[in-house]
Symmetry: C2
Subunit: 421 residues, 2 copies
């Protein structure tokens, strides 16, 4: 079953708003195992809408169309649907009573222009809109069963979930291939290398489709497994995941597609460990990420963003000799920062970051992208240096933050193996 | 000049991610006075991409296509472009040196699959990608000049701004209605209210088109002025901006469309003031925002993210009686937090935030969305309470952070008027 999606409206077409409806509809349809092959978007222009609907009628089995069903002069989708379907626009009495009911429920008076919303292509089946005045409708155009819905996301989403989905299932019948997607999260390898290592997957697992999603600086590997049997899909998914982990090693930080902060939070929670952070160049991003996870107050105690050298000395107890001899970006400095924040917070783990995010601040031996990360835990004091290839401030903040959290994750694994906690 | 936009990629087509690229490109082209008539989106499927490109080649004058230029097996857009243009895919030596330069700059080794990114349709002009490995390219398909760009937003946006826009202007020639967009940034009014207050603008200024861009929780008001004469456009733009400020009052925090953190940073820099922040529920977001601005080390000294009550007491010197009597979320608590962080940092301004971002932590008299904000400066100690209508953690963190920075901005204006600095 091949599906297409059409968004109509000047705001979407001219870029005043981002079209989140198309993604929502595509995700719902994909989850149902319907293959979405194309989205289109056109402005509030009768000829354009009729043209696209006619094309869709030749290509797709089903289509979901949003926008242009309201009472104003801009709202011309029903008219376009009638033209594309080759039927007249007529007053639909079911639609009219749906609109009347909506108004009477809220003791509101129907305006003259509201009746326009009941003018539907002849032969349409109205779709009830619980949250607004404009009903949707179903009408075949060419070989395609077309579902017309309002553009307001909460109205559209409700109608899609409750009425369109069940109609699609009814039309589809039983002989149906389903699919499931398995996600893994990877950090520390360029996309091209991940691809090179995984490109053999289709020969090992013929039913698996490989995809990759770059959520900078993390790469999400997507394994979509197709089949008719849910248990078989699950088993192949697990095998394909294990194969992927084998190819990518420790750079896979979640076999569930989690974010880094979620994964680190899980490990901390499971081991009843607490963390405190001393940030410099990342400017609070690490703490922001950690505290985006609900329940993070269980393990996140304190963070100090010591941007100035003075603050590094006064608050964290970094020695002035260290700053003078090595500067703010150095393994020794971050070791003292990590130990300082651990001490003043009473946390089990002290994490620290100091680096040069850019665009300024570089020196001859410390180019933009240099970062030092320190960890103090279980009597160990670690300081390491990394180099990011980026010149841009926000990219470096993001890569430094993930790199620091990943170092915590790896050290926790190492210390766990050594029996340190 | 008629333009179309095409997004390629499984993630976008199947709804795993929302296509924000199309809106961005449409907005940029519309601002340039180019008429965007249609967007399309197809999956990573060779036949689909070739088909759409061929259609676009018959309809549009220019097209911007994003996605599928990387090194992986999914990346088939260049191949599709070659097929649609009816030319072979060949090694482009300019593109190859662009990629080699990118790698050598960071002393990174090129993977085998990276060379694939230099295989372009014969006759293409490469577009330099400063921020990534995949170059873009320009090639005519049918009657349409097609610009192929990577799907990664920050790479795409930079290339569009710096190289594609100027090429479009060059191709377009001189007899052209130009336009200019003036942006204002607004915080503290719902979108519908902003819309109601401004909807009369077209009767006062017939040449001005009103647009609105919600960058939660900030609203950007977009005034597009059309005309042939640059000076006249500028004058009308200034008048329309003044009219808008008159309608929206103090909720307009930037008449240049700046971000809140940029605006606050500007005011601090101009007045040679420094700031330190004590965050609780915002978890580092305020500091992350402030330090996203290049040069922020001039005025941002220190931030403490005191998530636990213990940290609020030990580090910031909040009295245990205050915490016991009022709790962590209270005007008195944030006053002491603000004063504490100002004292230990030596900054001119201490800013503090404590609230309930959710989903947990609410009490009978402090529902999710409650936030207290404190400021200590010029001998004044201020604590205020606000209520956000949202239940969701990240939304509340964002609204609390902007609210805190806006309070700093307003207090600075007030104290400046009073001659306090």
């Amino acid at each position: 079953m091949i599906a297409e999606i059409l968004s109509t409206g000047d705001e979407v077409c001219f870029g005043a708003i981002v079209d989140s409806n198309a993604a929502h509809i595509a995700a719902i349809l994909s989850d149902m195992g319907v293959e979405v092959v194309r989205h289109d978007c056109v402005a509030d222009d009768l000829t354009s809408i009729v043209t696209v609907l006619t094309e869709i009628g030749k290509r797709a089995d089903i289509a979901v169309i949003t926008g242009g069903l309201g009472p104003t002069v801009d709202d011309i989708t029903a008219e376009a649907a009638a033209l594309a379907a080759g039927v007249p626009l007529v007053l639909n009495h079911t639609a009219k009573s749906l609109i009347e009911n909506f108004f009477s429920k809220f003791s509101r008076k129907m305006a003259d222009s509201d009746i326009k919303q009941a003018m539907l292509p002849e032969g349409s089946t109205p779709i009830f809109n619980e949250m607004g005045t404009a009903p949707g409708f179903i009408i075949p155009i060419g070989k395609c069963r077309c579902y017309f819905l309002p553009g307001v996301p909460r109205e559209m989403e409700r109608m899609l979930d409750e009425q369109v989905a069940s109609d699609i299932i009814r039309c589809r019948g039983s002989d149906h291939i389903s699919s499931r997607t398995f996600m893994l999260s990877v950090f520390g390898l360029p996309e091209a290398v991940v691809n090179d290592r995984l490109k053999g997957i289709s020969s090992v697992f013929p039913g698996v489709k490989l995809g990759m999603l770059a959520r900078f600086p993390v790469i999400q590997v997507k394994l979509t497994v197709y089949g008719k049997d849910k248990d078989a899909i699950h088993l192949i998914g697990q095998q394909a995941k294990a194969w992927t982990v084998d190819k990518l090693g420790e750079t896979v930080f979640s076999t569930e597609g989690h974010a880094m902060e979620t994964e680190v939070g899980e490990v901390l929670k499971q081991n009843h460990l607490t963390i405190a952070v001393a940030e410099s160049c990342t400017g609070g991003l690490i703490s922001h990420m950690l505290t985006n996870v609900a329940g993070s107050s269980e393990y996140f105690l304190l963070s100090a963003i010591t941007y100035s050298n003075q603050a590094k000395q006064n608050l964290l107890g970094v020695s002035s000799e260290t700053i003078e001899k090595y500067g703010a970006v150095h393994e020794e400095t971050v070791r003292q920062m990590a130990d300082g924040i651990r001490r003043i917070s009473g946390a089990d783990i002290g994490l620290s970051v100091s680096g040069i995010a850019g665009p300024t601040g570089a020196t001859a031996d410390k180019p933009v992208g240099t970062v030092c990360i320190g960890i103090s835990m279980s009597g160990e004091l670690i300081g390491r240096r990394f180099q990011s290839p980026f010149q841009e401030r926000l990219s470096n903040k993001q890569i430094f933050a993930i790199c620091a959290l990943d170092m915590v994750r790896r050290e926790l694994m190492r210390l766990k193996i050594k029996g340190k906690f």
